[in-house]
């Protein structure tokens, strides 16, 4: 197959597919052919197609499970009007649970609850499993053998990432030991004074902010 032909087939396939196509899946499109393209040829065709998207309303992106065409974010306001219903919004509880699973995987429900300080509703876990953003990756060998959750390729696909490396980095945890001097216990006697001081200080600050607003 000529390179130009290959490009046409790959463009059409990626555009017609409902999901991202992996290299294996693309290779398989040609397995019945006499002269099968190599992975290198396919990769080159994709690179060329990506270039051709420059300046257009769609782009050819690589995500975790493969390549896919998608609309560019800047045309979103118009394209979104094609659909009546608004995209689903996710509750903070769900997003916090998700972020713990993503950053701390593998993690049990109990461990999530420990960090969040509240119980995690079964509905949240169910929703995340149904959306296939998380999955049970094993069981922790402690009494009760609770399920360990991890993130999935679909999660990465949905949030437009190739791998977990692309996740925004987690805020640094301040080292408490280093700040120990600041932590020094206020003596019972000085406590009142110090809180008063704080009150005074923050009172000023607050007012300052108030006017700034």
């Amino acid at each position: 197959m000529k390179d130009s032909e290959l490009k046409r087939v790959i463009e059409a396939s990626l555009m017609a597919a409902d999901s991202a196509l992996s290299m294996d899946r693309l290779i398989r499109l040609f397995e019945q052919d006499v002269d099968q393209p190599t992975r290198e040829q396919i990769r080159k065709a994709i690179a060329s197609l990506q270039q051709e998207c420059e300046g257009r309303g769609v782009e050819l992106r690589k995500v975790a499970s493969g390549w896919r065409y998608q609309t560019r974010p800047d045309v979103q306001p118009w394209v979104a009007r094609l659909w009546q219903e608004k995209p689903p919004r996710y509750s903070r509880a769900l997003l916090e649970t998700l972020s713990l699973i993503v950053y701390r995987q593998p993690i049990t429900r109990g461990e999530i609850e420990e960090v969040r300080g509240v119980s995690v509703s079964s509905n949240i876990i169910k929703t995340l499993l149904e959306r296939e953003w998380v999955r049970v990756v094993g069981h922790k060998e402690v009494p009760g053998r609770p399920a360990l959750y991890g993130s999935t390729q679909q999660f990465l696909d949905y949030f437009n990432m190739k791998s977990l490396d692309e996740m925004p980095s987690l805020a640094e945890l301040k080292d408490l030991d280093l700040m120990h001097p600041e932590l020094e216990l206020p003596r019972p006697q000085t406590d009142k004074k110090s809180s008063l001081r704080v009150v005074t200080a923050s009172g000023d600050l607050a007012e300052g902010q108030e006017t700034r607003h």
């Binding site: 998608q70 560019r72 997003l95 950053y103 969040r116 509240v118 949905y158 216990l185 009150v199």
Partner: protein
């Protein structure tokens, strides 16, 4: 844009609870601490738990977590959960645990500390650690919410296929499957002795099919044409056996116009019912 039900931003920071500000004593509880019972549902939805509430209280005062002013925070916290308790006790359980923890820290801090125990941990440190840890993931969840997301910020392309007859895939058959099927049907039938099959030889049957196939096209084939010298003696015998077998089952007829004239093979004379039995 994507933050849902976030607590109100810190725009009400002027009021301070029960304290002396610049010499002026404040005796009225700040208004934003009072939550009308009707609003409690919203309140409960707004906070993701005791840690979230604590973070809010700290932020509202523009205080550093690390310098957690335990007395103030405890006081404010208690007022919040006091309200909560009245209406939705089961939901407030986690908040109550936190209240107990705050009370414990407070009481420990109020106790006189022997000066020697320098190493003793600040009773607040565990709480601070938890608050910081929670805050990290709270931030992370906000970041996740900001990530460009399918069906919200970007849409997958999925165009129609042109009309084109789609070739349906044929089932694959493993040769062993076929063998097992045959073995079982034979076993079930219990009527085929193994030697029978062996002696008969598949090649004879194959040739029988072949001859019939030829006759279905040509209808009239010269006997000699059925034998190919190149195939050797074995094949000739197989062909001959096949012909005899076909004659026996009256599938074919041999015709010869006179002695020593060429012999022709033709399909057996079609019966009168031919017209309506054309199965293939």
């Amino acid at each position: 844009m994507s933050k849902t039900n976030s607590p109100p931003p810190e725009h009400l920071q002027a009021e301070l609870p029960f304290a002396v500000v610049k010499g002026e004593p404040i005796t009225v509880p700040p208004e934003d601490l009072y939550i009308p019972p009707d609003a409690l549902e919203i309140f409960l939805d707004a906070f993701e738990g005791p840690l979230d509430l604590l973070l809010y209280l700290i932020k509202r005062q523009n205080l550093d977590i690390v310098a957690l002013p335990i007395l103030q925070i405890t006081q404010q916290y208690m007022e919040y959960i006091g309200l909560m308790k009245e209406l939705r006790l089961e939901l407030a359980a986690e908040y109550l645990v936190m209240a107990a923890m705050l009370a414990e820290i407070k009481s420990r801090m109020l106790l006189p500390q022997p000066a020697v125990e320098e190493d003793e941990k600040d009773p607040r440190s565990e709480l601070i650690r938890r608050l910081q840890e929670y805050e990290r993931f709270k931030q992370a969840s906000e970041q996740i919410d900001e990530l460009p997301r399918m069906h919200r910020d970007t849409f997958g392309v999925s165009i129609m296929q042109s009309e084109y007859p789609i070739e349906r895939a044929q089932p694959d058959v493993d040769f062993r499957e076929l063998m097992v099927a045959f073995q079982e049907v034979i076993q079930r039938a219990q009527m085929f002795a193994s030697h029978h099959i062996q002696r008969e030889g598949l090649s004879v049957r194959e040739r029988m099919s072949g001859i019939l196939g030829m006759l279905s096209i040509e209808d009239f084939v010269e006997f000699q044409k059925l034998f190919d010298v190149q195939e050797g003696r074995g094949a000739a015998i197989v062909t001959f056996l096949a012909l005899l077998e076909l004659l026996k089952t009256r599938a074919i007829e041999l015709v010869q116009s006179k002695p020593f004239a060429p012999i022709y093979v033709k399909p057996a004379v079609k019966g009168p019912e031919e017209a309506h039995s054309n199965e293939g």
